[in-house]
């Protein structure tokens, strides 16, 4: 198919789709309306279970089973990347050479690293109370480690980041989520039902029943997954070279 024909096809198809989308938009409830039946019920349930952050309650309590699926997608994607970006037979590993780093960059990276790591862990720990949670905090914590790559060099990063350990951590976190779910089953109610633990005092770290546990498991999984993913991409960029180069 030539580029001209393709452009025409995109123009016709896109125009028709645009018309349908606009017609659909005009039929939607008005923006900012007061009627949100699901939202109201979710808020009521979250407050009944002493979870201050309603979004965390939706993710780890009311829709905990969907989050299990989401976590499985993440796990499968990491597995796929590890397989796709492995070292093949016609490639070898080159020893990365240390590169000079500008002094301000080095200082800034080394000062910000512990702050960023702590921020990530804080966001994970307070997922049931304040905006944030396992997904967001996990990404912050994982990327904070990579400040060492910017501030020092690749070998320094490799020393604090044994990838094998993070792969095990990823699998353990997924198992922890499943075990928490099965605990609900053994405790006499449904899989992943939040009925096992006391709901605690509203707006404290231990409130929300199993929400903090599932949140922590997700935080660990996301942090490990991001570390493993970035490690594989960095390996491709820094270490793995084709034979004969």
């Amino acid at each position: 198919m030539s580029r001209r024909v393709r452009l025409w096809l995109v123009a016709v198809g896109g125009g028709a789709l645009a018309a349908l989308l606009v017609a659909a938009c005009l039929d939607l409830p008005a923006f900012g309306g007061a009627r949100h039946p699901y939202g109201d019920r979710a808020v009521r349930e979250a407050l009944a279970r002493h979870t201050a952050n309603t979004v965390a309650s939706v993710n780890f309590d009311q829709r905990a089973f969907d989050t299990l699926g989401e976590m499985t997608i993440l796990f499968a994607a990491v597995l796929g990347c590890v397989v796709l970006l492995r070292q093949t037979r016609d490639e070898h590993r080159a020893r990365p050479e240390p590169e000079p780093v500008a002094l301000p960059v080095r200082r800034y990276a080394l000062v910000v690293l512990p702050v960023a790591l702590l921020t990530g862990l804080y966001v994970v720990a307070h997922g049931q109370l304040s905006p944030g949670g396992g997904f967001q905090g996990g990404v912050v914590a994982a990327t904070s480690l990579h400040l060492l790559y910017l501030g020092a060099d690749y070998r320094a990063l490799e020393r604090i980041r044994p990838v094998g350990l993070y792969e095990v951590g990823d699998a353990l976190a997924v198992s922890a989520y499943l075990v928490t779910g099965i605990a609900g089953l053994i405790g006499g109610s449904a899989f992943l039902a939040n009925t096992l633990l006391p709901y605690g005092t509203f707006n404290t770290l231990s409130s929300g029943g199993t929400v903090p546990l599932l949140n922590a498991a997700i935080g660990m999984e996301v942090a490990c997954a991001v570390v493993v993913l970035l490690a594989r991409f960095l390996d491709q960029a820094v270490e793995i070279e084709e034979e004969g180069k």
Binding site: G14, V55, V58, C81, V222
Partner: protein
């Protein structure tokens, strides 16, 4: 104002589709797919918005004192972001392999099969 956010979402989606169809670089195409996906974030958050409402987090807001936006679509958006990030990572890994095996990242040059 009534439907503008929905139209913005549709426009972002179509812009992403146009980029996908005319892309000459697979990395650019992966970026365009992310643009398409970000249209769904805008749409979901627009659906959940309520006038004069605050975030559905009660650590510093007394429950019932103020209206809050719909937390269900916010949770869906979070799911959406995570799935989008994983899809991007997987596609970029594929692009790395395509570039290594075929020596090009232009989708038009990848049309013939090679055994």
């Amino acid at each position: 104002m009534g439907v503008l956010p929905y139209l913005v979402a549709a426009w972002i989606f179509l812009a992403g589709c146009y980029g996908l169809a005319t892309s000459r670089n697979l990395i650019h195409a992966v970026g365009c797919l992310s643009v398409c996906q970000s249209a769904t974030y805008v749409l979901l958050l627009a659906v959940g918005y309520r006038d004069d409402a605050t975030a559905p987090v009660f650590s510093d807001v007394k429950p019932g004192s103020r209206p809050v936006v719909d937390p269900v679509v916010q949770a869906l958006t979070l799911t959406d972001v995570v799935v989008g990030a994983t899809v991007t990572a997987l596609l970029l890994a594929l692009v790395v392999q395509v570039s290594k095996r075929h020596g090009t990242v232009d989708p038009d040059e990848l049309s013939e099969l090679r055994g």
